[in-house]
């Protein structure tokens, strides 16, 4: 089309380049530049695109396919339609695992945020020693989850663990955290609070961005610590809080490593504890112990659906509760 227009322009003008031909040439040049830019962008993005396709998109599509099959890894998958999904709703262990996971997530996430925020507020007032404490708080985050699982068993041992020893100093007879089903999840939740370091750093950065003038104005108006916290600090850092809540909710729903190491891994192959049977652990058992890869894929998609719904609810609620600077107040 462009070529035709240029030729027509040439013919009617006789000599020189007509304005129409000039515009067409510029348009062509712009398109060539755009194509070059697109090509360059794709070239630079290609490592990520290839990685995404191979390691994320394809496994996602493939697991959706497997979820419709009876597949034991050893033999070819047999198509069974939605049989695996129907079975999910009849399997009492799926319900148990979902209940355990929901309890862990919805108790752990608020506690995680509260502890992170408290530590970040303390760090903000730490002055020159803040750097040292920031490092100290972050160090546990670098501990491998498997090591945390082992540490859990040592620290929370009902007889000789450090936690109960400390409780004993105050006359409290601590529970059997690692063996009493009623205390297994609370123990794991407490252990998970050990790794709040990353969230503390994020919240500290957010706190340091809150304009000091806001606090000065509030103080002049007679606002105390709590009023300042609820009217200035929390609204101003709400995007960071929201980010931490969303990310940790997803992590909570996918929790696996620590509980698996402590209750289902090597050394505990016989003593499993239903109180620690989280959803991903049961999924792992189905996939790699019972070789029901098709059923495990269906379980993975159910979890994906649950996470999508929970995250969508959080996003909807966030529209009312999260304040973004520069955004018109809704």
């Amino acid at each position: 089309m462009a070529d035709t227009a240029v030729k027509a322009g040439d013919g009617s003008a006789g000599a020189g380049i007509s304005p129409t031909a000039d515009e067409s040439a510029r348009a062509r040049s712009r398109r060539r530049a755009a194509r070059r830019n697109t090509g360059s962008a794709l070239l630079f993005l290609s490592p990520w695109i290839i990685g995404f396709c191979v390691f994320t998109a394809w496994p996602l599509i493939y697991s959706a396919y497997l979820s419709l099959t009876d597949y034991d890894v050893i033999n070819d998958p047999q198509f069974v339609g939605f049989e695996n999904y129907a079975q999910l709703f009849q399997d009492p262990k799926v319900l148990l695992a979902l209940q355990n996971t929901a309890f862990f997530t919805f108790v752990q996430v608020p506690l995680y945020v509260i502890v992170s925020l408290a530590l970040a507020l303390l760090l903000q007032r730490a002055g020159r020693s803040a750097g040292f404490f920031r490092t100290i708080f972050f160090l546990p985050k670098m501990t491998p989850p498997v090591a945390i699982g082992i540490l859990f068993l040592l620290l929370f041992n009902g007889q000789n663990g450090l936690i109960n020893t400390v409780l004993g100093w105050f006359g409290i007879n601590g529970p059997a955290w690692t063996t009493d089903p009623a205390w297994v999840k609370p123990g794991l939740i407490m252990m998970s609070l050990w790794t709040v370091g990353a969230s503390v750093i994020i919240l500290l950065a957010a706190l340091q961005n809150v304009p000091e003038e806001l606090y000065e104005s509030a103080r002049i108006d007679g606002a105390g610590f709590w009023r300042q916290s609820f009217s200035i600090t929390i609204p101003m850092i709400s995007p960071a809080l929201f980010f931490i809540i969303v990310v940790n909710t997803i992590a909570g729903l996918q929790t696996f490593d620590e509980a698996y190491t402590a209750f289902f891994g090597s050394g505990n192959t016989t003593y499993s504890n239903d109180a620690a049977l989280f959803y991903v652990i049961y999924l792992f058992q189905q996939a790699f112990e019972f070789l029901n890869m098709g059923y495990a894929s269906a379980m993975a998609w159910l979890l994906f659906g649950v996470i999508m719904i929970v995250t969508a609810v959080q996003l909807i609620v966030s529209r009312r509760l999260v304040y973004y600077e520069g955004e018109t107040q809704r």
């Binding site: 034991d72 033999n75 690692t178 089903p181």
Partner: protein, 461 residues
Amino acid sequence: MHASRRMAAALAGAACLALLTGCAVGTGGADDSDADYDPDADLSGTMSVMGFSGVDEVATSRMDLAEEALGDVEVTLIEGDLDLQQFLSAVASGEPPEIVYANRDQIGSLAARGAILPLDSCIEGEGIDTGMFVPAALEQVTLADQVYGIPEFNTVQLTMANADLLEAAGLSVEDVNGSDWDAVSQANLALTKGAGGALSVIGYDSKLPEFMPLWAKANGADLISEDGKTAQLDDPAVIEALEWAVSIYDDQGGFSSVKAFRDSADFFGEGNQFATSVLGAMPMEQWYVNVLNDVSPDAPLAFDTVHARGGDTLAYATGSAWAIPAGSANPEAACRWARVMTSTDAWEAAANARIEVREAEGNPFTGILLTGNAAADELIQGMVTSVGEPWDTAAAKMYEANEKTFALPANPADAEFKTALQDAVNSVLNGQATPEEAMGAAQATAQTALDEAWAKLESEN
């Protein structure tokens, strides 16, 4: 334009479907009909061995013999215990290892799925004498009358006790060997010490849930029928055995307290439960005798076999086995490797190597080495020199137990069966269910898994 887009979309969809269905190649059902098993044939090529570390003298001495028998075959070890994920990944990619070293209780499930080959041709071609294996070990690798694994090692249980604690309580090891459950319960009460809800001495540890099959058999019950098709978890004798084994913990404040205390022990070190006199008695696998002899040779120990109610010696056999994956690229080499590694000559070499190592360390050979090969066991028993008491008794009792072993028969839903059993026992230990409720639910779960797995296996055959 639109037509070509539709065509492109259709082609992309078709390609996607082809990729999806073609991705999972697997090797299930591949056979070894092309393999020519001959003990005198010269072999070549490569062979990867998965699940076998080959780190100690018992392994390396046998490997030397096997590699010599394999001639030009290049052997590579994929070290560590068999990682099912790693194995399945290799199978899914269509390139399984040539041979795997698995727990015997994994053989049934792998065989039922066609992941490993029946070894009839291998056994016949290489001339493996299956009559030399301990019957319980061979039974564990036999599914639907076909042998799928060449067994090696045999693990049995012994009663291990702290002689000082027994003596102080006016008891002997016979009171805790399981022949009289009331006597064990009384001894447990006499030996247990603790104050304020915290234990300081575990009287008797019935080692649940792992030894539930042992207690059921001791009470005259089998957890699964001989043909591996019917679960018998709700048998009244099984429930009675579970009630008794759990009562041992209940008498000490509950399983929760005992396990927490047990977990805090230095199990493999000088501060083990016997050396520190914090455990009266327990049934335990024989390899632990070697640990105790190494780390606390002066600990006040007493040994006996585990007895069924009424007095007969009894042991629940477990162990390892060599299996050839379907799709193995060099089944002839794999078969010869399995034959030589489990041969009487190889075990004799292993025993000599161990004696040499022990002598170099200034220690005697305890004789604690059960091979799964009855002929080799007899030979090794003759090589044992006196170590002094109580270790000589431990070795003698171990060989006695080796004669009286039983095993759970191979079945195609072994993992599901064991999980159902363990979950049930754990739920009773945790106080979440009564033995009747737990074993009733486990029976239903296990039987469903067995029915499905056998139906699938039989339809494929």
